[in-house]
């Protein structure tokens, strides 16, 4: 726990915001898992299936709002680092999707799973943070 408290203190984000964000993120994941489980295990009508499928959306909106709040609490240098990381993630993911599309046309790979795009974005974001921090060190 001390490790996480230290990391939060170093991040520049208000500890209260960080804790609310963490709880909201975890709740959002629980709702995700619950919705997927419900869609697989219950015989639901069309309207109910749509309602269950969309049930994670409010949680995701809350997460986006909290991340924005956290970003606004960062100092100008940290904002620069994260801006560069987002740029790396956005552009690299775009390139990766294009490359995957070409490979798909060449029938070298199967259909693209959208869940993988998110994983690539996170991976490229982490790489972007590493590059930016190294650049300004």
């Amino acid at each position: 726990m001390k490790y996480f408290n230290d990391r939060i203190a170093c991040s520049g984000v208000n500890p209260g915001t960080a804790k609310v964000l963490l709880v909201t993120l975890l709740s959002s994941v629980v709702i995700d898992v619950g919705a997927i489980w419900a869609l697989h295990h219950f015989e639901l009508g069309s309207a109910a299936r749509i309602a269950v499928a969309l049930s994670p959306v409010p949680g995701k909106i809350a997460v986006i709002a909290l991340i924005l709040r956290a970003i606004r609490q960062l100092d100008e240098f940290q904002k620069r680092v994260h801006f560069e990381a987002v740029t790396v993630a956005f552009l690299s993911t775009g390139v990766a999707v294009f490359v995957y599309g070409y490979l798909q046309k060449a029938q070298a790979v199967g259909p693209l799973d959208l869940g993988r795009v998110w994983t690539f974005m996170l991976l490229f974001y982490a790489i972007g943070v590493f590059i930016a921090k190294k650049h300004y060190r």
């Binding site: 170093c10 991040s11 520049g12 100008e76 240098f77 940290q78 680092v81 300004y136 060190r137």
Partner: protein, 71 residues
């Protein structure tokens, strides 16, 4: 843009973490500014200067100005 932060910090006997705490920014920001890797915006430049009880020009030196002073 050059700066005299390292010297001024040594005069105050402050660590980078202490200066970061006084100015309300992360230690990483102080490290980057001190090493000349990152140029702060005016409000942060003023905060740093005020922390050292100096004017901005006494802490941050614009490159062309520094060159003229050196010659």
């Amino acid at each position: 843009m050059k700066n005299r932060m390292r010297v001024l910090r040594a005069e105050k006997d402050w660590t980078q973490a202490q200066l970061a705490s006084v100015t309300g920014v992360s230690r990483q920001a102080i490290v980057a500014i001190e090493n000349g890797k990152y140029e702060p915006a005016l409000p942060l430049a003023f905060k740093i200067a005020r922390a050292f009880e100096k004017n901005v020009e006494e802490v941050f030196i614009w490159e062309n100005h520094a060159e003229k002073e050196a010659t």
